[in-house]
């Protein structure tokens, strides 16, 4: 059939091609899908933004992070500076020396949260403590995500004996009590850290180093379990078989096909781990095993506040409030993320 004429056998049951006419541009336009296709991530984000509580929590976390990382840059007091004439001031109170200065016409920044028993401005100490807490949360989340994903996806993808051995290891790590291991490590590395030549490690102190070590050793197991479970179910699907058939390497399949499909589980699990990491740090700092003095942490501030509890309860209230706000926001945001990313609840 060279020309455009298409002939139909009169006895054929085929439709007569002559009855067809080309579609007009207008008709073609009708076929275009009216709405942009919504990707899973964008859909989840939209649902998250609809959740008022989650949005407020995100705003609170951002605000606290901004305060913790920016305010120390221009704050007039430092967290180590002691002033014996300004001990145990109440919030917005000035010492006599400072009052004299103000009368002379000098402008002084008020002690928003008062001062502690050594005359250090309390607000800046609480801000530094908050910074430590957030740092611990972020580091924990990064460690959990990186190690958990790599371990879980290898275990899930290869399956069989590899999976069995890797999961037994996870089971054992899961049963190890994390606080006990931190304490053990602290006792062991105390001397090593204090004599270390690395300035950062000395400043962090044995407590923080052992906390981070334990995050790397123990905290990723629940993430690994979740990712493995997800990978196991994705592995059976056709698009993975197709990739394998056209010769994609396991690393590429895991990276390009499996991890994007696990992203909701990863986000939810990471968000749930952050508060528990912050809790662990403050708990250990409270026992005196966290950051090394004079660096404050919310836990060590609360611990120091116990000595003058009846006369200066505000020394407990401010760090307590700060940690409460951080953990509460992360908890509620975690719930919001779960609701937004859980495909079972998709409507």
């Amino acid at each position: 059939m060279q020309n455009n004429e298409v002939f139909k056998n009169p006895l054929s049951l085929q439709l007569d091609p002559k009855l067809f006419e080309p579609a007009t541009t207008q008709e073609k336009a009708q076929q275009v899908i009216m709405r942009d296709s919504v990707s899973f991530g964008r859909d989840a984000l939209r649902r998250l933004l609809k959740n008022k509580i989650a949005v407020i929590c995100m705003a609170v976390i951002l605000l606290i992070a901004l305060i913790a990382f920016l305010v120390p840059e221009f704050y007039p007091y430092s967290y180590t500076k002691q002033d014996v004439t300004a001990k145990n001031l109440l919030p917005f109170q000035y010492s006599q020396k400072e009052m004299a200065k103000i009368e002379k016409g000098e402008k002084l920044f008020p002690h928003i949260m008062g001062t502690d028993s050594l005359g250090r401005d309390y607000a800046i100490r609480v801000i530094y403590g908050t910074r430590i807490s957030l740092l611990v949360g972020i580091v924990a989340a990064v460690i959990v995500v990186v190690i958990g994903i790599i371990y879980g996806s290898i275990s899930g993808y290869f399956g069989g004996r590899v999976d069995m051995i890797m999961m037994r290891i996870v089971d054992i790590i899961y049963a190890l009590p994390d606080v006990l291991i931190v304490i053990l490590l602290y006792v062991v590395i105390k001397d090593v850290v204090s004599q270390s030549k690395n300035d950062l490690i000395v400043r962090l102190g044995a407590g923080m180093v052992s906390i981070f070590l334990v995050f790397g050793l123990l905290y990723w197991v629940s993430m690994a379990r979740q990712v493995r479970g997800q990978i196991l179910s994705i592995k059976e699907q056709e698009f993975v078989l197709y990739s394998q058939a056209i010769g994609a390497s396991p690393a590429r399949i895991i990276r390009k096909h499996m991890i994007p499909n696990c992203i909701s589980v990863i986000i939810i699990t990471a968000a749930m781990q952050i508060p528990s990491a912050i809790f662990t740090e403050s708990f250990l700092s409270f026992l005196g095993l966290g950051v090394s003095i004079p660096m404050p942490s919310l836990g060590s501030l609360a611990s120091e506040a116990r000595s003058g509890l009846v006369s200066f309860p505000h020394l407990l209230v401010f760090p307590a409030l700060s940690i409460f706000l951080i953990v509460l926001s992360f908890n509620l945001l975690g719930n919001g993320l779960r609701d937004a990313f859980d495909p079972k609840l998709r409507s």
């Binding site: 190890l176 006990l180 304490i183 062991v188 090593v192 708990f283 506040a305 307590a320 908890n331």
Partner: protein, 308 residues
Amino acid sequence: MNLKFAMYICKRLGMAILTIFLVIAITFFTMHAIPASPFSSEKAKSDKTIAALEKKYGFDKPVPEQFVNYLWNIVHLDFGLSTGWVGNTVAELISGGFYYSAQIGFMAALIAIVMGVVLGAIAALKRGKWPDKVIQVVTTALVSMPSFVMATLILLLFVLQFKWFPSRATDPGGLILPTISLSLYPMAYITRLERSSMLDVLGQDYIRTARAKGLANSKVIFKHALRNALTPVITYAGPMMAYILTGSMVVENIFSVPGLGRLFVNSMLRTDYMMIMGVTIFLGIMIILMNFLSDILYKIMDPRIDLT
């Protein structure tokens, strides 16, 4: 009790024993990786005295031999001699502290489970009404509050301000506040678990069947719903044990209870290595055994679960 279940118990028990062994090994070898001798921190001691002390405590032998000895002694509940509290064995000190910690821990766990299940069930049954809302707000606040803040606030209010309770833990009634402050977090956690699992169960077909055949509401709730909604709570028993045992370190310090947790913190301050090892291993064993028990109980409560 069929064969499959017995197999499962054996397998879990094997895992538990292996984990306990690993805890002991990790504890032992990390403690022996410390460059300093446990006696070097003490002042003005000749090399001869240190050598004599090391001999007395068995530190002069090669490390693998020490490890085998240590394991063998632990099987006989002998954790060695304390170097921080001279003249006491670690086992004596642990059992002395455990006397208080066990009371606090057991009561706190009991309160947490009973109150948590009751409050969670109420919240689920009154879903969306004010009791549910109040319970949800309070429990969300409680799980966001660190144990040391809670315990210090309780101490400040009820001991220092109102003086309703004795300030010494060994006085009668002195253990009430530590117990309550230890139980609040697990209670709130269990309430949330129980609420969501109860809501899940109440939506099941067999609940509708039970109601349809005209069963009294109380019977539906107690016989069908509550019982099935308990399984997630049982899985939390292991983590709860870990929380209570480690949480007691903070609570016992705040309320000055002479328990295991305070002993542990003090042995760190005195760098008493034998004590630190002993208490770590003891707490580790308790947590692992509790995990084992909750695993077994979980399978008994919910026979639908595949025994693998």
